[in-house]
């Protein structure tokens, strides 16, 4: 039985007169990889931002593991184990790679006194192992801001994994990455799902990637939910094809 870990129910969000999300309902099943696609401006990132608490939603409800989170703040939601990466890669640019990961220890149980503790050797080992996992081990002492764009993406991904999230929301993980590296990244995303047991919810523009990765896909267009199905169903859905070709 697969229960759903995120339940988005009738969520609407408007910025002034622009309706970015209109009555969207979707569920992210636990332990699976779910995709979210749609043309530019269809409201994908807005939906992500709503889920992680970046802005209040106008209407509807968002549940994480059965608990309402739509009124919670970014940090509180993050501490529940719902971590996101950014479309414009965001890393701590003046710190080295190891430090970038150490920041991201799970803060769920962090007490006031924990602030003044140092890091355990196990935490350091874990950070190094994750850097090895994304292929940045040799560069772990380099300043993160000096890495190439693709490497920064990988670092951000490793940082997210370090947080031991239950669900990872990835906003276009392959955007701007060299095509030859994309296969390696797909492989790592799948391993994050299978080996670490992290549920993934992925926004992606690259159709080859998302069809390869996700088991079920939601498609947005003009802020509304257009279609939902397996990669095959989505690929053959005339409404999806029309949306991408601009028939609307």
């Amino acid at each position: 039985m697969t229960s759903s870990v995120i339940e988005v129910d009738n969520v609407s969000k408007a910025f002034g007169g622009v309706i970015a999300n209109k009555e969207i309902s979707l569920t992210v099943p636990n332990g699976k990889i779910t995709g979210l696609i749609g043309p530019n401006g269809s409201g994908k990132t807005t939906l992500f931002n709503s889920i992680v608490g970046y802005h209040p939603i106008d209407d509807g409800s968002i549940k994480f593991e059965g608990n309402e989170i739509s009124t919670m703040r970014v940090q509180e939601i993050a501490r529940l184990g719902l971590i996101r990466t950014f479309q414009q890669t965001r890393i701590f640019s003046k710190m080295n790679c190891i430090d970038n990961l150490l920041i991201s220890i799970p803060h769920r149980t962090a007490t006031f006194k924990d602030m003044f503790r140092s890091y355990d050797p196990e935490t350091l080992d874990k950070a190094e192992a994750l850097l090895e996992f994304v292929g940045l081990y040799q560069k772990r002492f380099l300043i993160a801001g000096e890495l190439s764009f693709g490497q920064q993406r990988l670092l951000e991904f490793a940082t997210a994994l370090m947080n031991e999230p239950k669900v990872l929301l990835l906003d276009e993980p392959t955007a701007g990455i060299n095509p030859t590296l994309i296969n390696g990244l797909i492989d790592r995303l799948k391993r994050a799902n299978t080996d670490f047991g992290i549920t993934l919810f992925v926004i992606e523009h690259n159709m080859r990637v998302i069809m390869n990765l996700a088991e079920n896909i939601y498609c947005l267009a003009h802020g509304e939910l257009l279609a939902h199905g397996t990669p095959d169903e989505i690929q053959n859905d005339q409404r999806v094809i029309d949306a991408y070709l601009g028939a609307h």
Binding site: Q75, I83, N96, I98, I103, Y137, Q138, L142
Partner: protein, 363 residues
């Protein structure tokens, strides 16, 4: 600053490499009273400047919150210690309204007791004021935070100027040190030297904890830190509180050293000390451990030399330092060294791991 460098050599984590700095600085501090007995007051101010630079750097350098109002805690500490020192023996209102009458005297025992309690109260009082202000001010970011905090410092000067109980604009004459002029100079010299050393060691220790890393993360990208679940507000408040704690001590020392406190020029001197404490870490290299110390030494040296030999031009010289730093030398002394010799600071590609990997791939 990278603190968790396992298996790589860095100036910032290798205590042995910092040893010459410790010996030089502490050595100078210990022998200065014997070598330069006539300049004790100026050297005491140097230690206070170093303390200023370090505490500002906790906020501006390590955490990226450029506070122009840190001078508030200096003045607050000064007034708290004055109130405690006077209040232990006399009624504060009566004492201040009789200012200049010269009747109030303190026995040596009363004096030393007062200065100990006064300094402690200044430290903890300032550290408690920081969270209160923090809850209001930390809603602001970047330039708005800088201007907002500047407003606090300016407003504090005006408010204390209107508060007659603590002497208003007329100020408070502090209890007079019971010893000779030399004994007094030495007393305040050791007091400020000790405060600067303790501040340095405390901050150094603090930067080695998770806290140090978290405030660096807030500096680099606060939104990202929030998205990872870091308790950002908690860290920001603690950072300001720590900063305020030591600034409170410096205020207590300076108030007693000067002997007379008054709101605008002594307690809340926004355009002198308030700016110096920003300029010094910038000059030395903000966000580093030794940068603020170096910046304070260079700045204070230039200040004292121009005051002595180029009187009339001293403000021009200090202005030039600030302009040159901000326009051409933003990374500061330590930042420049880090750029020039990154490998000395542990910014290296792990060659052994690279070789091992290549070897593994070849086999």
């Amino acid at each position: 600053m990278s603190r968790f460098l396992k298996g790589v050599d860095s100036f910032e984590t290798n205590e042995r490499k910092q040893l010459p700095f410790y010996i030089g600085l502490v050595g100078f501090g210990l022998i200065a009273p014997f070598l330069f007995p006539n300049y004790l007051f100026q050297i005491a101010i140097l230690w206070i400047m170093i303390l200023f630079a370090q505490t500002w750097d906790t906020m501006g350098g390590q955490m990226g919150y450029n506070s122009l109002g840190n001078i508030f805690f200096f003045g607050a500490g000064m007034y708290i210690s004055a109130i405690v020192q006077v209040g232990l023996v006399y009624d504060v209102g009566v004492y201040t309204s009789a200012a200049g009458a010269g009747k109030a005297s303190f026995t040596p025992e009363q004096y030393y007791q007062g200065i100990i309690y006064g300094t402690l109260a200044a430290a903890f009082g300032s550290a408690l004021l920081a969270p209160i202000l923090g809850l209001i001010m930390f809603g602001l970011r970047a330039a708005y935070f800088a201007i907002g905090t500047l407003g606090i410092a300016l407003a504090a000067g005006e408010l204390f100027g209107a508060w007659q109980w603590v002497g208003g604009g007329g100020g408070i004459a502090m209890p007079v040190h019971p010893g000779t002029a030399d004994a007094r100079a030495e007393f305040f010299y050791w007091f400020s030297f000790g405060a600067a050393v303790i501040t340095f060691l405390a901050l150094k220790r603090l930067y080695q904890t998770r806290f140090g890393l978290a405030i660096n993360a807030i500096r680099d990208d606060e939104d990202k830190a929030e998205a990872l679940g870091v308790h950002t507000l908690r860290h920001k408040i603690v950072a300001w509180s720590v900063s305020a704690f030591f600034l409170g001590i410096s205020g207590a020392i300076f108030g007693n050293m000067t002997g007379f406190i008054e709101p605008l020029e002594v307690a809340f001197p926004t355009v002198t000390f308030g700016i110096f404490m920003v300029a010094m870490p910038l000059l030395g290299g903000k966000g580093t451990l030794w940068g603020p110390v170096m910046g304070a030494i260079v700045f204070h040296l230039v200040k004292e030399v121009t005051w002595t030999y180029l009187l009339g031009w001293q403000w021009v010289a200090l202005g030039m330092i600030i302009i040159i730093t901000v326009v051409f030398f933003q990374q500061g002394i330590m930042g420049w060294m880090k750029e020039k010799w990154p490998e000395k600071f542990g910014v290296v590609i792990d060659q052994t791991a690279t070789e091992a990997r290549n070897k593994g791939a070849a086999e």
